[in-house]
Structures are given as C-alpha cells and as structure tokens.
Symmetry: C2
C-alpha cells in the first residue's frame, strides 16, 4: 500500500491577502436590510456590534484584501496547513479516484476557526475594544476566539449552546484555560436568554438563541463588540487562506480538483476552501463541481428556503438573505454541533441559488462510520463536522477540507462504537412552522 | 510585544538515522540481568517479547541506526515538528532568557509517542507479528500504539492504569476509534492482574502493574509481542529524532541552549530531546546543563535509588539497573499520569549517576499554573506532563520539549481552575518499604 503524501508550503507562502469572491461574482449578492425599515443598512447600523475595519470588509467589493502583518505573524504558528493525498484512504475505499484533503486541525484550537478569530481579535484591539462576546455550538469557535483573545489581551465571554455545553465539558474547560468565560445558552444573563427560558425551560438551545444573547451583550455594553464564527462575509473572507494555500499545494501535486467538497454549517469552512477555486472558475479557469455537505438533521440548503431572515432567534440582528430553516427552528441535538445553525452564509446561499454549487444532506451514523474509516487509514480522527465532507467517491480528483480534529468528540465516537448513537431527524412540522414565520420582507 | 517565532524544517530534513548515545558514553551502561540466574541476558531471553530487530537495537553500540523508509514515510505526516521561540512567554515572564521549545503535540496522537510507536509497529510487522500488547498510563502511549497499529494492520490491546482509565475516558475512546481494545488495569484478564486485584481490589493501578499484564499476554501468546512506550534503550533511541531536529533548528535560530529541559516519567521524552545534545558534548561540543524534571509525587531520581529492579510489579520482566522507587511502589493518582512510573530509563539513570544530568522534582499545582500561563501567552494548552518542563527561568538560552497537547486533560485543568485540585504527595512509608524490598542482586 502506498503511503499518504503531504504537501507542505514554506511559511513564506502564507497568503498576504484574503480573497473576496464578491469581486468576481456574476450577480452581486442581496444587501443586508434593517428589520424596521426594510432598507439596506449602513455602517453606522453595525457599529455597535463590529469594529469599522470588519464592517468595511463585510461590504467590500475589492478582490484582494491585505492581511495585516500581526495576523500573519500569528498564522505562522500553524500555517500554511498541510495538504495530504490520502492514498491509504484511497486503498481502503478501493477507489480509482485521487483524494486530497486540506487539514486545518493543526491549529492550536484544533480547527479552521482561528483563521478568522485571530483577524477579528486583531481588528477589535486596533480600535480599542477590550471585550468580545460570542456564541459557540460545538465549541470550536468559542475556543478559537478564546485563544485569539488571549493573544491580543481581550476579555472573551462565550454563550455555548446548552446541548453542546453538556455534551462537551472539556471544550468549556479549554476556553477557561485560555482565560475566557463560558456559560450555557440560553442563560439568565440576558433578556433574550431569560425570554427563551421562560418559553421553554428545557430547551437544548441553538446557535440562533446563543447569537441573540451574545449580540445583546455587545449592543448594551460600550466596551464590548460581538464576534461571529461563520455566516458573515468577513468571516468567510478570512477563511480563504485555506483555499489559496490549497490551490498552490494542488499545483505542487500536479493535479486540479474535479470536485471540491466541504461540510457546511454556517458556511465558512466550505467557503474557505472553495471560494478561491470558484473565483478561478469565474475568471475563466477550470470548472470543478462544488459540493457543500450539510447534516440531514439541519438541512439548510436542501430543505430550507432562500429568503430574508434574522440571523438569531431573538431577532436582534439585521435581515440577511440566505438559505434558512427559519430563525425559530431548533434542530435536534446531534453530535456535529458546529453544523446546527438555521441559516447558511449569504454568499454560499447566493452561489447555491445561482447554481454554482451543489448541496448534499447526510445522516449522522454514516458520518461516524466514515470518520472511523478515515482514522484507521489516515491516522487522524476527524471532528464529526468534518466527516460530513467524506462522502463523495467516484470523481477523478477529489479535494475536501478536514476542518478539525475530533479530540473533543470522543464521547460521540464512543456512543457510535457502542451502538448507542441515535440518528436523529428534524421535526418536519416545526420546520414548516418556522418557515411559515419568516419575516414579511422575505417576499421582496 | 514581539511575536513568537517558529522554526520549520523541510521534510527532506527528517532524520535518516536515530542517534544511539551508548556509542559515545564514557562508561558503558550496566547489562540487563536474568532474575533467576543474575547473569546478563541474551537475545533469546527477550525473543518472546520483542522482534529481533528491536532486541538488536536494545543492545546496539553503533552510533547511527538507519531509520527504515516506511517509518520515515509515516513520520512525514507530522515531522519535522516545529521549534518555537516563545517570545510571548518570555514577555509574560519578564525574563531576559530566550526560551525555545520543541512541540511534539502536532502528531496525530498528540504527543511524541508515535515516534517510537510507528517504528515498533513497523519492525513487528516485518517479522510477521499480528498482535501487540501494551500498557498505558495517561493514554498517550496507548493511543499512539493504536494509531501505529492501525497504519500497519496490527491488532493492539492496551492495559490502561485504572485511575487514568477512569479520569480519561476519551483517551480510551480514541484507542477504540483507531481499532484497538483497551481495558482498565489491573484486570481479570491475566494471572498477574487477578493476583493484584486479590491483594487490593481497590487499587488505582500503576504502570508497573499494567506492564505485568501486557508482558504476560505477550509471553503466553505466540502471535503477540509486547511494546513499551518508554524506559527501554530502543524506545529512547527512536525519540532522538526530536533532538536531532532541534539541533538543526537551534542552528537556524542562531543559538545553542545553555540549558536543556525535559519532563521525565519513563525518560523517553527527556532523552529524545537531550541525548543528541549530550552526545555532542561527549564528542567535544558545547556543555549545556541538562535537567530532567519529575513529579514530586513520583520522584524516581530525586528520591529513588540506583539499583537493579524489575520493570513491573508482577516481576515478569528482567532486571534493569535504574533509578527506582521499588517495583511495588504505587504513586498517588495525580494528573500527569504519564509520569507515574516507579523507575527511570536505565540510560537516563546511568547519565544521572555519572553526573551528566540534573534532576528536579516539582509539585502538581505550580505545573498547572505554568500550563495556563503558557496557554495564555503561547496559545497551546500543554499536557500536564509537559508542564513539568516549564520551571526554569534564569539561564540565557533555554530549550525544552513540549511533549504533547492537553486536549484530553481538560478535566484536570478544570479541577485546577475551580480550585479543587489536590496536590498529592507520595506515601513515604510505602516508599521506604518498596525500596527495602528491592531484589538482592541490586547489591552488586
């Protein structure tokens, strides 16, 4: 059996700019709207939540946005991340396809999330902010922002979706080790949280609820801004370092992907890998298939609708046009907690709507099976989120993003190994109700 | 504040040979003795436990031992590992010293242990072995051998020290994810285990007990060999890739260490970093201080004696001359489970006896404090074992080995953060009794 091959780039090849796909889009994405007026919002509307530099990136149409040197200096801790040709997995699958994967689990927080956490912490500190509030699902994002906050001397408070807070106590401990605070959401610390608890004291929580809490804290405290780990344009932008490196590494390997695959919760992992390749296509380059894989229990693209919706359950955010299951939809408590968001990044949704990318929904148990096969052939135990990207087996050259390791998911693997993992499905009636309740502006 | 600096080596600089310090020692180490005859043992005595290639390495006096290509191919997954200059930590400590650390947590199993696990799995498979039995303390070694076994198609069964098995269920799940089996030791599966349980049904277990169980399985099954994760000469040999790389990386940094520090449980982590530097000194090179740091609760060098002793509690192994607390000594159940072994590697003990290295014992709570300070300045949460190496603050150029990450130790950090971590000490009477019970040959 041939051994798997690693393609390394030297540090000098860490990107000097992020790639903004908006510059190359054939149709511009829909604007963000003010929920009161239904009109496009301006920078001032977002200023209570984000530093101006990030607001600028959120609406930028420039193709290349320079990465500040202090951010690149921290990227150096783990970037460029390796690209592997998974020859052992190819052999185990007995496939003629060549399978490549980019591995983002090498970061100190164990996933791709620090790519944007470090950038966001940097810009906030530059503008004199001392505190950040955020939400987290599985904990990948919360621990990444805790890590970045520690490096830039920012106080970080994290609202962690209750079901994950209970399933993954060590992610919480990791955030605390980095000096952040972490509470289960919904909590009694915010008005939004108290309202949700009043409605359903036993709720498992959701990213939508946790976002409401984090946004409320930022909106009501002058020294605190809000940070989001996915969905928004500037977050996807920061993740493009993944795809930019991967393009160069695929060239080293002498291949170009026929299909680019990524798991999609909020969309930043998929976008990080795929956008530079999609942009190359827009500019006349090769035309691979692009597949976003989502959990069948939270099927934002395959079962949701493309409409204006709130980013959070408490309706504190502006309205963004995205594929959504409705902001009141609560997905069941499955194990890829990072993928349990009711919406999909507007830029990914827009590309899906344009027919530029495909979407696929997969169930939990086949993903754990794929994760174990991957671990036993390639030696890395993938995060459950990442196993969602390992489904495609027939194309000639496949590239996917292994967005993180599964060191904090062993309880879930354990359940799977002992046959106790239930393949949860979403509540179809609740989904229909959530979709029926979309804000009226959606019918523009 | 200056950012920390990473020194990367290209894959082409993965070592082509392991460094055998025995070749350069001023006084040869004492031979291993047969416990029945008191005479030096030969290869045939070890053949039931190890493949001939590893027995050859155990007694070799050659300086450079070639690393087989299939082993180097797997090393490529994560080697060369990075060397960092910890400028952020220097600033946080406000020290004029330059602090460098080699980071072995980048391996798929999260520690330095795969360096030897891969080599051992390779040589066993080359000689037609299909099953390996082993013990593990904190689980770093067990999961590393499980990882290596998966890559070479070997069945791995692991006896995990009971207290760690209970403290760290996810390490067990990790081994199972790699396809290995794992039971708490002492177990009812072996005669040795049953005897120990009969004597003390509530024992927390110890590495010495787990070794007895694993050795028994190998000795009584023709298709099974035994694998050890530290202590033995060939294990230390395989770890020298760490120091060989570090020497080249220190050269890139334009520095040479004034002090080389490593945590020491069985000794392989310390030896892996230090031996190439000690060898350079033996051959007329610079003469840094070498400090092995051990837990105050299991103070093998600072409180033990240099004598012939069994490697295990059940007295199934040959006698090796080492610093030992006595093979019947059971250290308290503190959190750096990988450091809870009654003996120290014979080669490290021999160098300590010759005055070539120093030993230092540290308590648990200051280590967790150091670990948090490291996490918040450098961004990596160290394994509790690794925090034992972070104590030295005054020399000019300090080099230490960060042997693994703490992703599976968050429960322990959690206890520390919540103020519930007890600083356990060993039972001095039990230690005296264990030392008094050393085998008679010790008085040579």
């Amino acid at each position: 059996m041939s051994d798997s091959v690693k393609y390394n780039l030297p540090e000098s090849r860490i990107a000097t700019s992020w790639y903004n796909i908006v510059a190359d889009m054939p149709v511009p994405p829909a604007p963000v709207l003010h929920p009161g007026t239904g009109q496009p919002i301006g920078p001032d509307d977002l200023a209570p939540l984000f530093p101006m530099a990030l607001i600028g990136q959120e609406v930028s149409t420039e193709r290349d946005i320079e990465i500040p040197e202090p951010v690149r200096d921290i990227y150096r801790m783990w970037r460029p991340s390796p690209l592997y040709r998974a020859r052992r997995l190819e052999a185990a699958l007995d496939t003629p396809a060549k399978i490549y994967y980019k591995y983002e689990g090498v970061s100190p927080a164990g996933s791709h999330k620090p790519n944007t956490a470090v950038a966001q912490a940097f810009y906030n500190r530059e503008e004199g902010i001392t505190k950040l509030s955020t939400e987290t699902g599985a904990g990948q994002w919360g621990s990444s922002l805790a890590f970045a906050g520690a490096l830039f001397g920012l106080e970080v408070s994290v609202f962690m979706v209750k079901v994950s807070y209970q399933q993954k106590p060590y992610r919480r401990a990791m955030m605390e080790a980095y000096g952040a605070s972490c509470v289960a959401s919904p909590s009694a610390l915010t008005e939004a949280g108290r309202a949700m608890l009043a409605q359903d004291p036993d709720t498992t929580g959701s990213l939508g609820m946790a976002i409401s809490e984090a946004v409320e804290v930022a909106a009501t405290n002058d020294d605190t801004k809000y940070a989001l780990g996915s969905v928004l344009n500037h977050v996807l932008l920061h993740q493009t370092v993944i795809g930019t490196e991967a393009m160069e590494q695929m060239e080293m390997a002498g291949d170009y992907p026929d299909v680019v695959i990524g798991c999609a919760g909020g969309g930043s992992n998929f976008a990080g890998l795929a956008f530079p390749f999609i942009g190359a296509k827009f500019r006349g380059g090769p035309s691979p298939r692009f597949i976003a894989v989502e959990p069948a229990a939270c099927p934002t693209m395959t079962r949701g609708t493309f409409a204006y919706d709130f980013g959070d359950t408490g309706h504190l955010t502006p309205l963004v046009k995205m594929h959504t299951l409705g902001s009141t939809f609560v997905p069941p408590g499955f194990h890829a907690g990072g993928l349990r968001y009711h919406g999909m990044a507007p830029l990914v949704s827009h590309l899906y709507d344009l027919g530029e990318i495909e979407a696929r929904a997969v169930h939990q148990n086949p993903c754990f099976e794929a994760g174990l096969q991957f671990a036993r052939s390639e030696g890395i135990i993938p995060a459950p989120e990442a196993t969602h990207a390992e489904e495609e087996g027939t194309s000639r050259v496949i590239l996917f993003n292994l967005s993180g390791h599964g060191n904090f998911d062993m309880a879930a693997y354990d359940e799977y190994l002992s046959g106790n993992l239930e393949d949860k499905d979403y509540d179809a009636e609740a989904l229909d109700a959530a979709l029926a309740g979309l804000p009226q502006v959606a019918a523009e």
